[in-house]
Amino acid sequence: MEKITKEMFTPVSTQDHLIQEMIFDTGATFFKDAWKRFRKNKGGVIGLFAIIFILSMALIGPMLGTHVYNELIAEHIDLPARVPFLENFGIFDGSVNGFNPYITRGLTDVYYWFGTDNLGRDLWARVWMGTRISFFVAFVAVAIDVVFGITYGLVSGYFGGKVDLVMQRVVEVISGIPNLVVVILLVLVLKPGLTSIILALMITGWISMSRVVRSQTLKIKEMEFVLAAKTLGASSFFIIAKEVLPNIIGQIIVMTMFSIPSAIFYESFLAFIGLGLQPPIASLGVLISRGYLAMLTYPHMVTFPVIVLSTLMLSFNLVADGLRDAFDPKMKGF
């Protein structure tokens, strides 16, 4: 402690010391903040890595294998999984239920990492091709329903009055019908195929998005600056869009993340009950529904697509959970 001298008591202007006024800022925007929080969520991070991994495999997987995905080789039907290095450890050595078709058919130099299906096609390639399809279907469906949901909510909330009333009644009726019924009926009527399935998936997802957007729009609409903009002749529709969207972008991302596994599931479910994609397109769901038939004798046909599908859905759910917690401003400090 230094000695206190008389000079220290000279008055000082506080202007120089207004540095304290500076707002302590880590320079973090909303997203940087959220990303930091997300990183701490172990589940979310693992999920993210898993998604990236599976996506990569979907892209390059079929090329890594030794066989072409749609080639049918009659002598190679119903072969279990056989992986070169691992077979020395007794796993993936091509045997199932006690017998080994590789040996019995004399296929000593043939390897199929995931085995083959009942038509002799390489399952490794088919699983990854199927993943591409499943991804594609899910993404397109979700993308459309997000856009549609946001638009519907904006329009309904902005115009209000009669328009809103009618639009909300429509929503109520549609949400009164279970998704299951809507999806099945649509696909039935439109004949199972890529477009009809995407359409069906999309129809069921947009409602919750539109609800959120609508309530936010209603809130913003009441604010005075909108009236001011209108008086000045500006189009308040876009102003509202500009105000509503940034506020809810976090929620939108989370909801999108949650709808993807739902879409993937529904697509595979449709395949399972016979309303799936038709050949030659084969998604994971189609593979599973075919493989299930031989589950007891050749479990590998159903196991590999099931694992990939489940992991995919699990990862998206983990990421969605992590994002939801990361965007939640109520989290205290940690």
Partner: protein
């Protein structure tokens, strides 16, 4: 023989862990509470007043920790005198012996303080029965009715079975007070109990609290950001700024002879009722963030009376009288003589003249 204070806080320091740093909310405070008196702790939002009292009951959030300090509480149990440091005993001890039982708290917002799905009567009875203050339900009901009357709720027989949403804000706050008094505590902590209420209800609740103190002799710590609210209720006042106590004294000393520039600012910013066209003074600037606490006297950055030493070292408590202490370098013998703003001086003089004596 002077009685020891029932509550004695010494050199308390509390900080909170945040994402990007440590927030030193309470940087070193000491105060005491005597039996039967009302101590007002005054400060701006964010000065740490609530944190102080919550820490007494061990109710601060998980990311907060008491770094240093003690809080001695003296009470009687089964005829024996007990003295315990509330910050050192575990949560179990606090739950069993202190919370609700000996020290009770009233929160700020009556709209969110009550469980919306439980009848009001049951919420009052909960503490009594858990702490075994009553023998059975019948006694509990009887006592609850008495409490409802004490806090000024009409038709207690009807109210006891109602849900919180059926009561107005003022009534809900009365219920909260009744809950606090249920076990006849020694100390009542009122954390901004009137801030969320309409002005007319505010004065009713203040009157009620005063009344209760007269009837039961409970000691009260009254937390507020509004010196005006406290004027009629407090025996002693402690003014807090940036996690430290800057001035403390009897109510009359603080109101008629304030010495710290922050206190001047607070008193000046109360709109005057005299109707003359006075300036309403406000304190420029904002409270500092305590993640990087300022060196020296934290208030200096907003004060018109700052001196070089204020930016170097924090002032100690200077004694003005046995009961009046001020933490400001302005009271150092080497400091220039400074007077409170003339507007404030005039106002205080007019109060004195009008005979607004304060006991």
């Amino acid at each position: 023989m002077e009685q020891k204070p029932i509550l004695e806080v010494k050199n308390l320091q509390i900080s909170f862990q945040l994402n990007f740093g440590v927030n030193h909310v309470i940087r070193d405070i000491s105060f005491h509470l005597d039996k039967g008196e009302t101590l007002a702790i005054v400060g701006e939002s964010g000065s740490g007043k609530s944190v102080t009292t919550k820490s007494i009951l061990g109710l601060i959030d998980d990311n907060g920790a008491v770094e240093v300090g003690s809080c001695l509480f003296r009470y009687q149990k089964d005829g024996k005198d007990i003295e315990v440091d509330l910050l050192k005993c575990g949560k179990d001890y606090l739950q069993k012996n202190i919370r609700g039982n000996k020290i009770a708290i009233i929160f700020q917002d009556p709209m969110t303080s009550l469980d919306p799905t439980m009848k009001v009567g049951n919420q009052i009875m909960e503490g009594m029965r858990d702490h075994k203050k009553v023998k059975n339900r019948k006694d509990a009901v009887k006592r609850t009715m008495e409490l409802l009357e004490l806090v000024g709720i009409d038709q207690p027989e009807k109210r006891i079975n109602q849900y919180p949403h059926q009561l107005s804000g003022g009534m809900r706050q009365r219920v909260v007070i009744a809950i606090a008094l249920a076990c006849e505590p020694d100390v009542l902590i009122a954390d901004e109990p009137t801030t969320a209420l309409d002005v007319t209800i505010q004065s009713q609740i203040l009157e009620l609290i005063k009344d209760i103190q007269k009837k039961t002799g409970v000691a009260i710590i009254f937390i507020t950001h509004d010196l005006g609210v406290v004027a009629n209720v407090a025996d002693r006042v402690a003014v807090m700024y940036a996690g430290k106590i800057v001035e403390t004294g009897l109510a009359s000393e603080i109101y008629y002879n304030p010495k710290h520039p922050y206190t001047w600012g607070l008193l000046s910013s109360i709109p005057s009722m005299s109707g003359q066209n006075e300036e309403i003074l406000s304190i420029p600037g904002t409270p500092p963030n305590l993640i990087q606490p300022p060196k020296g006297d934290a208030f200096a950055y907003r004060s018109d009376y700052a001196m070089a030493i204020d930016f170097e070292e924090h002032p100690p408590m200077f004694k003005v009288s046995d009961t009046h202490y001020v933490a400001s370098w302005l009271l150092h013998p080497d400091a220039p003589k400074v007077n409170m703003p003339s507007v404030l001086r005039a106002r205080i003089d007019s109060y004195k003249k009008r005979g607004d004596t304060h006991e």
